[in-house]
């Protein structure tokens, strides 16, 4: 006697539950790497797994290369900057009349740090990279992050305010990119 309109997932096997969530995360990461048109579907089921793991990976690699007494601080700063930054950018977007919910937007912004996470790992793997090589790598990742998030978020804000919404997003990724460069 269960409503036909509500999903009935109470008896599904745990295996299926895990698989569905893993697929969801992979699907979104794929969309960040190759930003495409039908981003709206990827957005509707938000999750914070991707952002959490991407952010932890980035924080680990950045804190490993920090000085011994600053590891804890560096790690926490990266973590707080990513989450609080995403929250602030989201609130800004909503105040400008965006039609994305809070968690959807945080989810998108979190997933879109993926290129910057990759840049962090590249720079960590190739130790002692000079700033001449670091800049284009991080710059490219920054552009990629911003471009991917624009594909998701751009359509959610009214046309005449789009710049006001996009500017904080660029700034948000710029701060993270700066954290990556100075590692």
């Amino acid at each position: 006697m269960i409503n036909s309109e509500s999903p009935n997932t109470l008896d599904e096997p745990v295996f299926q539950t895990i698989l569905r969530d893993l697929k969801m995360v992979a699907f979104k990461l794929y969309h960040v790497i190759l930003p495409r048109g039908n981003a709206v579907n990827a957005l509707r089921d938000w999750d914070l797994w991707g952002p959490l793991i991407l952010c932890l990976i980035m924080a680990i690699f950045l804190s490993v290369s920090a000085a011994e007494d600053q590891k804890a601080l560096e790690f926490t700063i990266v973590f707080v900057v990513v989450w609080c930054g995403a929250a602030i950018v989201t609130v800004n977007g909503q105040l400008l009349g965006g039609n994305l919910s809070f968690f959807q937007s945080v989810c998108v912004l979190g997933y879109c740090i993926f290129p910057l996470t990759i840049a962090t790992i590249i720079i960590w793997v190739i130790q002692n990279l000079s700033i001449i090589f670091k800049l284009p790598i991080v710059g490219g990742a920054w552009f990629w992050s911003s471009f991917a998030s624009y594909g998701f978020l751009g359509s959610s804000v009214p046309d005449n305010r789009r710049l006001l919404a996009v500017y904080p997003v660029l700034l948000f990724y710029l701060i993270i990119a700066w954290l990556v460069i100075v590692q």
Binding site: I2, S6, P7, L10, D21, L56, A72, Q104
Partner: protein, 197 residues
């Protein structure tokens, strides 16, 4: 065959057979030992590592990662698996096309499938976990240790979200049962009236 695999809580029983047997046998022994285990496991790991880290120096970063990931796994397990296994509840938060929130609640209609002991074993850890992180966070706030405060806030938000979701879900389930009882009573009255005419 494996005695208890995490993917199958009732070993060797088909869905229909298992349910029939369940509703007939009313025992207090936990029917989902695996679910109870995972319901407690990540919670205990998170809190234990968090407390131990102040005695054993394993480094802030490692503690942060273990505690946060345990909390995240616990959030997932509690939200997606143990809730429906132990108390027959599940909550979803869906997003409508205009960006507004939509809470979706699922609950089993047959309350006899829910074991009272398991129900307690579900609700007490959920409550205690959220309350625990709240207390830890207050202590850190007044102790001015802001690095730890970050960990505690993350864990509290995860635990609190589950607590909120399940409280709403339980309320909704109660309402549904009430609504069904009412429609049943109305139905019988109407039937009797029809029979008399």
């Amino acid at each position: 065959m494996m005695k208890y695999s995490p993917f199958q809580d009732e070993p060797g029983s088909n869905d229909n057979n298992g349910q029939n047997a369940e509703s007939q046998v009313q025992n207090n022994a936990p029917k989902h030992p695996v679910a109870v285990f995972f319901h407690l496991f990540f919670k205990i790991v998170a809190v234990a590592v968090f407390i131990l880290s102040s005695f054993v120096n394993i480094g802030f970063v490692l503690t942060f990662i273990i505690v946060t990931m345990s909390s995240a796994f616990d959030f997932w397990v509690t939200k997606n698996v143990t809730g429906r296994k132990l108390v027959g509840l599940r909550w979803w938060n869906q997003i409508r096309d205009d960006g507004s929130n939509n809470w979706v609640f699922e609950s089993v209609q047959d309350k006899s499938q829910v074991n009272p002991a398991e129900s307690l074993m579900f609700w007490i850890p959920v409550l205690a976990f959220a309350a625990g992180w709240f207390v830890f966070a207050i202590i850190s706030l007044f102790g001015l240790s802001f690095l730890w405060l970050v960990v505690e806030i993350v864990c509290f938000l995860l635990a609190g979200a589950n607590l909120l979701g399940y409280i709403k879900c339980a309320k909704d389930a109660r309402k549904k049962v009430k609504g069904m009882a009412q429609s049943y009573i109305v139905g019988t009255i109407v039937n009797q009236a029809i029979n008399r005419v």
